[in-house]
Amino acid sequence: MSALKPKHQRLILVVLALVALIGAGLLAAYALRNQANYFYLPEQMQADPPAVGQAVRLGGMVEQGSLTTDNDGVTLRFAVTGNDGSRIPVRFSGIAPDLFVEGSGVVAEGRLAPDGTFVADNLLAKHDENYVPKELEGMSQMQAAKMAEETTVGIE
């Protein structure tokens, strides 16, 4: 192949770059629709559960009194509750984050098992006084408001 005229060469370069970039963009758009990891609240997961095995995230409050440890010492079972009493059982094998306790907010990354349990690969909890997983920011306010409401019931 002989060297092209400069004008043609530039045109080819531009076309090549555009094709690659548009290709990358389309591919990315296609893959993102399938591979993005969607965030669910417990009530959303109950009303419209994701496909079994699809990677999703579940965020809510760890239900008081629900946290138990299996005999192997590393499998935790607890329930995540939403704002309307909805409740999703969660199983997690691993080392829980430091500030993971009953009654605190948590985001669990994982997938729904056929039996309706959410199997988490990873737990994100509030990891210091200031940091709250972004998904829970709105939620903890709601929770706080609800708690305030409950604790002030009967006080006029």
Partner: protein, 651 residues
């Protein structure tokens, strides 16, 4: 007093940046030999000195823990070790931005002092652009994040630094990344200067190249350091999470890699002029996007430490101004620049262009994946994008890129035939095929790690092929740089592939005295002890680990509890062998008194960072080679002038 001195130095530096910008642009308009042109270089130099003074003052404030200064009170503590007091100076938003402008003004001062190759007018345009960029950042610092702000009443004690950041990794990781970002800002200024004066020449590329190389070396080091730091500090056993903050450092690196290669083509072959300018603009845009993502906290990240949404919008405005302006200038001027020399598809330029396009495509994929959660949030859908997207989609472009990377350096400039390098091609193809078959059939590795292993092995050998038939002593330093850097990519690739293909994980609850197994290791928990440090207490597990029945080594993973600020962290323990790393983390105590242990055996994982260091070393070799060659050329040029003057004097 010290704080006020620093604050004043910052204002004066900002004023000088304004002077540098105005004088520079006026000088460009006035043409050669105008009076005002003489102001440009000195103001860049003095600005560098003033910014350094401001930064030195901040370091001083942190060293003596002056609690009347808001930033110190919010981020330091009198009981912290001195090294963390100092590194705490840039472990927060204000301090890190001050570090940014300091490095930026120092590099501006350096080009003002040292760069004499380019036409004076282009230099003035470059320095004016540099002044404009600096001015934006000074405005940002002074108006919205003044590091020297005093408290009305001095605090009795500081709040302390986030314990995750109390680590030597922090002392080096952000400054190296910033030097990379800032080096790209210099490349950006050069590109703007060259566009303004229509001087997109090989000389321009040679002047810009050391800055791109330097930026690229620092970005590489910053990414490697950050990756290793996250690996051992976060205690998740991973080295890369595709987290927005990590992507923020990867995107400028990808752009800088592309820019580096196209700059080389422009410098030595006078081709790809417009493309190089475009990449110069894109690379700096990516640093700005990176800074914006990290600083604004607009995306959830495990590494976001110094976050403030208000300031994010300021950076966004700066980003829009600089990049929008540069793109506008580019659109106006691009058509007046010739494309330069021609070449065929099967030539070294052809291969470089191909890989430039592939790198840009990967950049686009990372950028889209990083920003996608922002986009969906606008429609109130919350998503996160992780490895299931990034790994396969970027591999689609990375695989052809790696193949071309193995072959490209073997081709000649301008025009070549593949038949000429048939033996080398055959060797590469054979290595890749044999590895594919071996690892695919014998050990049954998943597709992505399999491709990584095969291409890594092929590329590792192919990267040395450009040396064939050459006298090793006469190979230029810059060529060695290329070979080492390409080999480093292969090494890192093998490390990543092997980590994902052969890692073994073990999660168990054990009593003191009990053992558990992970891969070839037998790990025994001897005892669990409470220990204390200067500002923390911890539960420490004493593990004795024996590889394949050999001499046991001691590992002491800790779960630390800091009290200023109150926070818990996991300190992993590592045992490194030549063929991999054992990674141990201690967790909680189970209700029946056992301890949770999480262990990983990661074969060849260390190659990831050794490979990264090799890449940086290659860049450094090339940089040194280029600078030496430049000095030599200057000396020769000076001697020719002297000689000519002598002959004239004699005549």
């Amino acid at each position: 007093m010290i704080a006020e001195l620093g604050h004043a130095a910052l204002w004066f530096a900002a004023a000088l940046a304004a002077l540098q910008m105005v004088a520079g642009f006026l000088a460009v308009r006035a043409g050669e030999g105008s009076e005002i042109a003489r102001l440009v270089r000195p103001s860049a130099v003095v600005q560098a000195a003033l910014a350094s003074i401001a930064f030195a003052m901040l370091l001083w404030l942190f060293a003596i823990t002056d609690l009347s200064v808001k930033l110190v009170a919010a981020n330091s503590h009198s009981l912290k070790p001195l090294v963390f007091k100092l590194s705490g100076a840039w472990g927060n938003h204000e301090g890190s931005m001050l570090l940014w402008v300091t490095v930026m003004s120092l590099s501006g001062g350096l080009i003002a002092l040292a760069e004499k190759r380019l036409p004076e007018r282009t230099m003035q345009a470059t320095l004016a652009a540099q002044g404009l960029v600096s001015l934006g950042f000074y405005a940002f610092l002074i108006l919205s994040s003044n590091p020297f702000e005093r408290l009305p009443v001095p605090a009795p004690e500081g709040l302390g630094l986030n314990p995750l950041l109390q680590d030597l990794g922090l002392a080096f990781h952000p400054p190296t990344l910033y030097m990379g970002y800032v080096g790209l800002s210099v490349a950006f200024s050069f590109a703007v200067g060259a566009l303004l004066t229509r001087q997109v020449t090989p000389d321009f590329a040679s002047a810009m190249r050391p800055w791109v190389l330097g930026a690229w070396v620092f970005l590489t080091l910053g990414i490697v350091a950050g990756s290793y730091w996250a690996y051992y500090e976060l205690g998740w056993g991973g080295y890369w999470f595709w987290d927005p903050v990590e992507n923020a450092s990867l995107m400028p690196w990808l752009a800088a890699t592309a820019l580096l290669h196209s700059t080389s083509v422009l410098a030595s072959r006078d081709a790809l002029r417009v493309w190089t300018i475009m990449l110069g603009v894109v690379a700096f845009s990516m640093s700005m996007v990176g800074t914006f993502l990290v600083r604004s906290g607009i995306l959830t990240s495990v590494h976001a430490f110094a976050v403030d949404p208000e300031r994010g919008s300021f950076i966004l405005v700066l980003l829009g101004l600089f990049i929008g302006g540069a793109l506008l200038l580019f659109a106006l001027r691009a058509s007046t620049i010739n494309e330069g020399q021609r070449f065929t598809a099967t030539s070294r330029e052809g291969a470089l262009v191909f890989n430039n396009v592939m790198l840009s495509a990967i950049l686009a994929i990372v950028l889209l994946g990083t920003l996608y959660p922002l986009l969906t949030e606008a429609f109130d859908v919350r998503v996160s994008v992780g490895p299931p997207y990034f790994n396969p989609v970027s591999a689609i472009f990375a695989v052809p890129m790696l193949v071309v990377m193995a072959v490209g350096p073997l081709l000649r400039w301008r025009q070549d035939r593949l038949e000429r390098i048939r033996p080398e091609l055959a060797l590469f193809a054979a290595l890749v095929l044999v590895s594919l078959i071996f690892f695919g059939l014998v050990t049954g590795v998943a597709i992505l790690p399999l491709l990584g292993l095969a291409l890594g092995i092929g590329l590792g050998v192919a990267s040395f092929l450009p040396l064939r038939g050459r006298n090793l002593k006469r190979v230029p330093l810059a060529t060695w740089g290329m070979i080492v850097a390409h080999f480093g990519i292969a090494v890192a690739l093998i490390g990543m592939a092997s980590e994902s293909a052969f890692s073994k994980e073990r999660l168990a609850a054990v009593e003191a005295g009990q053992s558990t197994q992970v891969g070839p290791w037998v790990v025994t928990l001897s005892e669990v002890m409470p220990v204390a440090g200067p500002n923390w207490t911890a539960i420490e597990g004493r593990l004795s680990a024996s590889y394949d029945g050999g001499e046991p080594v001691m590992l002491t993973p800790q779960a630390r509890r800091f009290w200023a600020p109150p926070q818990e962290t996991t300190e992993s323990a590592l045992s490194t062998r030549w063929n991999g790393q054992l990674y141990a983390v201690i967790g909680d105590r189970t209700p029946d008194g056992r301890w949770q242990l999480r262990l990983w055996w990661k074969p060849l994982v260390t190659l990831i960072w050794y490979g990264g260091l090799l890449v940086a070393l290659g860049g450094a070799l090339a940089l040194v080679g280029r600078v030496i060659a430049d000095f030599r050329r200057r000396r020769i040029a000076r001697r020719i002038v002297e000689r000519r003057a002598e002959t004239e004097a004699i005549a």
